[in-house]
């Protein structure tokens, strides 16, 4: 009985492998753009798409309206050697990142192109749209992939990053993924000026099913403008926790970040206390970062916070409490009062270069 089961499984697996191995992968990357260029995390999605299979033709899907969309399409066409096509959906319906029209668009493009994979970055944009599109296509998506082991096998963190789960996708095409951008760093690519890049074509929107479009409307986006680097892609991140005690004191963190050319992060406690806006939150429910240097001041190191930063290359923790869990993941720890340590750091740190 058991042997028959194994045989059955083996033959299933064999069928399964051959059907995918013989066919090369074709991947649709859902990309975000802003001000005429592709957002950096979306380039990570292209890098991830490239690691799905050696023989993979990557198509980038861009949607929006106006000249900035066309500019972004030009950039997409030359952003990576593996990009074989750029698809552009130019319509006012995509002027804002509303899930309803975007999910329909992904469904439409998938039905025409028959891609084996659909990939987006697991930011708020991808997480909002991709599962909806997957439901329309009746497949299970895989969230927050950190490692790709072949066309159907992926590793993703579960339980706030306290376990890594390897999953195999056994469903029908397409296999839909959101990938964690910090796990797929974009290498500096020298753009060959002689190449014209991949062809750009317009998506025919005449068959776009508009049933559920128009039942949601974009009103506004409110954000804090800063000159500091983006939290998700910064090389250095300086984070403050509850121990900063006030929004006024939090400015010390900002000063230190400025001196280091770093982005500012915060714990949930600091956000809830109103020291900083919520988009600075690092953790399971905020942003996931993996900078070269992560400096945590007055951060205890709750599981949910660690989930957002423990893949950083070098972690520095400054905390009064020598037993704080943050010291278990810190490469360099300093037990002391941050109100003394930060001013001293500000005084003694070398000026940042360039």
């Amino acid at each position: 009985m058991a042997s028959r089961l194994i045989l059955k499984n083996l033959s299933k697996r064999h069928l399964f492998c051959s059907s995918f191995a013989s066919r090369s992968a074709s991947t649709l990357v859902l990309a975000e753009h802003e001000g005429g260029s592709i957002k950096a995390p979306s380039l990570s999605a292209v890098v991830a798409a490239n690691s799905i299979s050696q023989d993979n033709s990557v198509s980038i899907l861009l949607a929006g309206s106006g000249s900035s969309l066309q500019q972004a399409a030009q950039m997409a066409a030359t952003c990576h050697p593996s990009v074989s096509q750029v698809l552009v959906a130019d319509s006012d319906k995509f002027a804002y990142p509303l899930a309803e029209p975007w999910a329909k668009l992904v469904q439409l493009v998938q039905q025409k192109g028959g891609y084996s994979h659909v990939v987006a970055t697991s930011g708020s944009f991808g997480k909002n749209i991709l599962p909806r599109a997957a439901a329309l296509l009746d497949v299970s998506p895989v969230t927050d992939v950190v490692e790709i082991n072949g066309p159907q096998q992926f590793v993703r963190p579960i339980y706030a990053g306290n376990a890594l789960c390897t999953v195999r996708y056994t469903g029908a095409s397409p296999c839909m993924l959101t990938v964690r951008s910090t796990s797929f760093p974009v290498p500096p690519i020298s753009v060959d000026s002689k190449s014209d890049g991949a062809p750009i074509s317009q998506v025919d929107l005449s068959t776009l099913d508009e049933d559920s479009i128009g039942r949601s409307r974009y009103i506004k986006l409110s954000s804090e403008d800063t000159d500091r680097p983006d939290l998700g892609s910064a090389r250095i991140v300086v984070t403050g926790g509850r121990a900063l005690k006030s929004a006024e004191n939090f400015k010390m963190i900002e000063k230190l970040a400025e001196k280091l050319g770093a982005a500012v992060g915060a714990t949930r406690a600091a956000v809830d206390a109103g020291f900083v806006p919520n988009e600075l939150q690092v953790g399971q429910t905020g942003k996931i970062v993996a900078p070269e240097l992560y400096m945590a001041f007055g951060v205890s190191g709750a599981i949910q916070h660690l989930a957002g930063m423990k893949d950083s290359k070098v972690i520095v923790a400054v905390n009064k409490d020598a037993d704080a869990p943050i010291f278990q993941v810190a490469d360099y720890g300093l037990v002391g009062d941050l109100f003394e340590v930060i001013p001293e750091l500000l005084e003694k740190l070398p000026e940042k270069k360039g």
């Binding site: 909806r132 439901a135 579960i158 376990a163 986006l221 010291f327 810190a330 300093l334």
Partner: protein
């Protein structure tokens, strides 16, 4: 209007989880289980809407093995009017949960569906978006503020997005998924816990709802994340700057 809230029973957020030695999953036997924190927020929001006179009834729904009823009772003790338990022996993927929810929406006809933005066990962040897609309803994910307009039949939702806060307006019926900052969930009081014992819970099986329980994802293995090498405790700021400069080469 009726509001339906989906709640999930998960390993308590404060528990330090252990990966099983055979790598088949995470140890869930004899571990404290609770309602997923985002589901508590979803239920709280539904109760607030009802208390503001904008909804008549709040129905809590859960899916899974028999002990999920405990989670439902917690929801009833918080103030939900009644519960629905869809029995399923094995773990359900978000796509299946969304399909079951779709069937329940067809039976119950709620005007609003509220879910947490993600469950803290599988960290998927998919179910709300999937059910919205299946129903063809608009979705307001990662909500940190919800304002209902009963006359116009719309919900204005502030969403926590990467760049800040986005405000959108949804025609009802709609699906909303909750972020952490939406509200502070209430505690169930002892009298309410007692009262919850007599509130009705309707049971369904997946067969009765005509949804096939299947998964197109197979768990190959679950492992511990790589351990970080032990760090050092330094004694001064000078030493820290020296290490960062000359050992780690990061500044």
């Amino acid at each position: 209007m009726k509001i339906m809230v989906a709640v999930k029973r998960v390993v308590d957020y404060a528990v330090r989880i252990r990966v099983k030695p055979d790598k088949s999953g995470v140890e869930t036997q004899n571990v404290k289980m609770s309602m997923n924190p985002f589901c508590e927020i979803a239920l709280e929001e539904a109760l607030k809407i009802k208390e503001a006179g904008l909804a008549k009834e709040v129905v809590a729904v859960t899916m899974g093995p028999a002990n999920c009823v405990d989670t439902l009772r917690t929801g009833l003790a918080m103030g939900a009017d009644r519960g629905i338990h869809v029995e399923a022996a094995r773990e359900l993927v978000p796509l299946t949960v969304a399909k079951v929810l779709k069937r329940l929406v067809e039976v119950e006809n709620p005007g609003l569906l509220i879910l947490g933005k993600q469950a803290i066990d599988d960290d998927c962040n998919q179910t709300g978006q999937m059910i919205a897609g299946l129903l063809g309803w608009p979705q307001g994910t990662f909500a940190s503020k919800v304002v209902l307009d009963k006359e116009k039949q719309v919900a204005t939702v502030d969403r926590e997005v990467d760049g800040g806060l986005e405000t959108i307006c949804l025609d009802l019926p709609a699906v909303i998924t909750t972020d952490l900052r939406l509200n502070q969930p209430r505690y169930a009081t002892l009298p309410n816990i007692m009262k919850a014992k007599s509130k009705p819970i309707k049971k369904y099986t997946s067969e009765e709802l005509n949804v096939e329980i299947k998964s197109d994802l197979e768990i190959v293995q679950v492992t511990e994340p790589p351990k970080r090498k032990a760090g050092v405790i330094l004694s001064s700021v000078d030493e820290l700057i020296d290490k960062l400069k000359n050992e780690a080469h990061v500044i």
